[in-house]
């Protein structure tokens, strides 16, 4: 065991200044703890990529009315789901005025700006932000407990380490909380940021002032690979992209860059981004495994929050990660304060964290969506059902000289043509209802 007496010691080291890390750092620094927030990128958010939609509830509880000061883009009032096939698409278009007033439901954000602001709140509360440092090891004490971190030759000690280092969390693996993540539990999110004048966006998406639209696209968008497309309006840019399961991508020998280019050239989508200028392109890992994928959350001297804890929901209609990350950070901060009071930072001492997550919306929602990954593996979702829906609409709206068929027989014929049996239909319906 190395002698650590000459090394700096802090109360908490947070690794990763994404939304989970910065929230945890803020909450703990606010209580007077000595907190160091380490980020491997040149600034918080530089290594992050989100669709990105932030559901407001969890941050609102920590920083009430944060939207008044934080760099948020638009508040989402229009939610659209698109079932896409090769030549047609079927949309569900929902707009709610309630969403255009405080406390708002969700905002689109740009991570580079947003994360920076959030980390600044943590700094203002007293946390020390350390950018451009990459943590590569945990330090262990006599009983194997985590007592700090190391970056290259430099070391730093703390009572507790918070692993907030993202979907492919290195620390969680290092600390033995999880093994290597199987590729079917990880998604690849790929996104383009496309610039368009504000007025064009507002006109095209039928938005008033700072209202925003969120589109979820299912079906052809991902060329059969499990996943979906999204399109969100920011102030003067559009975030358009796809989340796809990594193993499927690999198996189908598709490159994310090609799939997204194809997606953006689909007539429905192309029309929405027409005339825009590509400003940024990026890809990022996204936890996809749902509840089944979550690692152990606590070990002696360390706990895991955010994407690193596998907290993410993607049910096709809704993609959530940030609000869950923030919720987990809040639970973690509470647990750490209690552990401090007892001076017990062991698994037992920190164990309240898991319980708090259970009781909060975080794990409750994760449980609700537990079957979602499985549901989304259903191939029919990507081919047959979008085809059937668009078939149906075509039938309804096309008029021939010959008398029209009845809707039900139209529907059963369509189902047969697309290789879907009644049994499949019923089973999928049940599955969908339970998972969504």
């Amino acid at each position: 065991m190395t002698d650590h007496t000459s090394v700096d010691k802090f109360d908490v080291i947070v690794v990763g200044a994404g939304v989970a890390g910065s929230t945890a750092a803020y909450l703990l620094a606010r209580q007077g703890l000595q907190v160091v927030l380490i980020e491997r990128g040149p600034y918080p958010g530089s290594k992050n990529l989100s669709g990105g939609v932030l559901y407001t509830h969890s941050l609102h509880q920590i920083l009430p009315n944060f939207w008044e000061e934080a760099p948020v883009e638009r508040c989402i009032t229009n939610q659209v789901v698109i079932f896409m096939t090769g030549s047609a698409h079927f949309n569900i278009d929902y707009k709610d005025e309630a969403f255009s007033k405080a406390p708002y439901n969700a905002f689109t954000v740009l991570r580079g700006k947003f994360d920076r602001w959030l980390a600044e709140q943590a700094e203002a509360a007293g946390a020390i932000l350390v950018p451009r440092i990459r943590v590569d090891r945990v330090l262990r004490g006599h009983q194997g407990e985590v007592i700090g971190i190391a970056a290259g030759e430099e070391e730093m000690l703390a009572d507790v380490v918070i692993a907030a280092d993202g979907a492919n969390s290195f620390l969680a693996q290092e600390a033995g909380l999880r093994g290597r993540i199987p590729t079917h539990q990880v998604g690849v999110g790929v996104k383009e940021l496309i610039a368009l004048p504000r007025e064009t966006i507002e006109e095209r998406f039928r938005l008033d002032g700072r209202e925003g639209a969120a589109y979820a696209i299912v079906g052809y968008a991902t060329q059969g690979v499990a996943g979906g497309g999204f399109l969100y309006t920011n102030l003067d840019t559009i975030s358009a992209g796809l989340v796809m399961r990594l193993d499927d991508l690999v198996q189908n020998k598709l490159k994310p860059g090609d799939v997204i280019e194809d997606f953006l050239s689909q007539p429905m989508i192309a029309g929405l981004v027409k005339g825009g200028k590509l400003v940024e392109y990026g890809a990022h890992l996204v936890p996809e495994g749902g509840l089944a994928m979550m690692p152990r959350l606590v070990a002696d001297g360390i706990l895991v929050v955010g994407d690193a804890a596998g907290l993410g929901v993607n049910n096709g209609f809704v993609i959530r990660g940030m609000d869950l990350a923030i919720g987990s950070a809040a639970a973690a901060a509470e647990a750490i304060l209690e552990a401090r009071a007892r001076n017990d930072f062991s698994t037992g001492g920190l164990g309240d964290y898991a319980q708090k997550l259970e009781k909060s919306f975080v794990l409750a929602d994760m449980r609700t969506y537990a079957r979602t990954p499985e549901f989304f593996s259903n191939d029919r979702l990507y081919h047959a059902y979008p085809a059937m829906l668009t078939d149906l609409m075509r039938q309804i709206y096309t008029h021939h000289a010959v008398p029209r068929e009845h809707l039900v027989s139209m529907f059963s014929r369509s189902a047969r043509e697309n290789g879907v049996s009644l049994f499949d239909l019923v089973r999928d319906l049940f599955s969908g209802v339970r998972s969504l």
């Binding site: 700096d8 160091v36 380490i38 600034y43 020390i128 350390v130 950018p131 451009r132 440092i133 970056a151 290259g152 430099e154 730093m156």
Partner: protein, 259 residues
């Protein structure tokens, strides 16, 4: 030994926006430290570490230079102290004005053995201020310095000119503008980043350093800052197998009368 290193944070050139009329805007750009200045800082750090001494970083400019991230960033590179002269009147200051203000600040900072400057600023790159400051202070002032050594209290430097490298000797105090190959800047370590927040920062106004209004008057009227002129290019991509593509090129060049 006391070493002063002057630096100039500037708007990040990659955030330049070209307006519809062809003019340039850096309003939304973030201000960053310049790699040229970091090289000078590194040179100063190595000398101070070898000979024993301290490094003081100095910058003058509008309020953007007082950004806490910039201050922390500079201090995490090693300097012991930071001095700033902050005044919006210095926004877009020309080299003569900058040099005069720096000179006044240096006089207030006390004695020094060496003042170091980067090769040029990241935005304008006029490569002037270091030379002007040295001359205003009436001390030996040299540019293009690629190596600095101390020998019995004298300065022995290598100066990289176009055809040759001169080995020159002169006395201290001196002002040196260094080249890009003087020293590879160190990456800020965890320890240095943490220490940075605890180091002393002194911020002065123009009045604090006895600079009168007349000193900051511009010596040049800027008429326009525009995007560079564009030559329309054919952008023909020669396709096909390598041998074919190459032949197409030769044919095209012959046709154009270039060969």
């Amino acid at each position: 030994m006391n070493i002063i290193v002057c630096y100039k944070p500037t708007p990040d050139a990659s955030d330049i926006v070209v307006r519809a009329d062809g003019s340039i805007s850096v309003e939304r750009a973030e201000w960053i430290l310049s790699p040229f200045d970091l090289q000078a800082v590194e040179a100063g750090m190595r000398l101070a570490e070898a000979a024993g001494g301290k490094v003081m970083a100095l910058s003058v400019g509008p309020r953007q230079i007082s950004n806490s991230k910039l201050k922390k960033d500079m201090l995490s590179r090693g300097p012991d102290e930071l001095y700033l002269v902050v005044d919006d009147a210095l926004a877009g200051a020309d080299t003569a004005v900058t040099a005069r203000v720096l000179t006044q600040a240096v006089r207030k900072m006390g004695s020094f053995d060496l003042i170091l400057f980067g090769e040029g600023s990241a935005d304008l790159y006029f490569q002037q201020v270091g030379l002007q400051v040295g001359e205003l202070l009436c001390i030996p002032t040299l540019n293009a310095i690629s190596k600095i050594d101390l020998e019995d209290g004298r300065l022995v430097v290598e100066r990289s000119l176009e055809d040759e490298i001169e080995v020159l000797e002169t006395s201290m105090p001196a002002a040196l503008s260094v080249t890009t190959d003087i020293a590879l800047p160190r990456l800020p370590s965890l320890k240095e980043i943490l220490k940075a927040s605890k180091k002393p920062v002194t911020e002065w106004t123009l009045t604090d350093i006895d600079v009168q209004g007349g000193t900051v008057k511009a010596h040049s009227e800027i008429v326009a800052v525009q995007a560079p002129p564009h030559v329309e290019r054919k952008k023909v991509v020669l396709e096909g197998k390598p041998a074919e593509a190459v032949q197409s090129l030769v044919d095209a060049l012959q046709k154009e009368g270039i060969l």
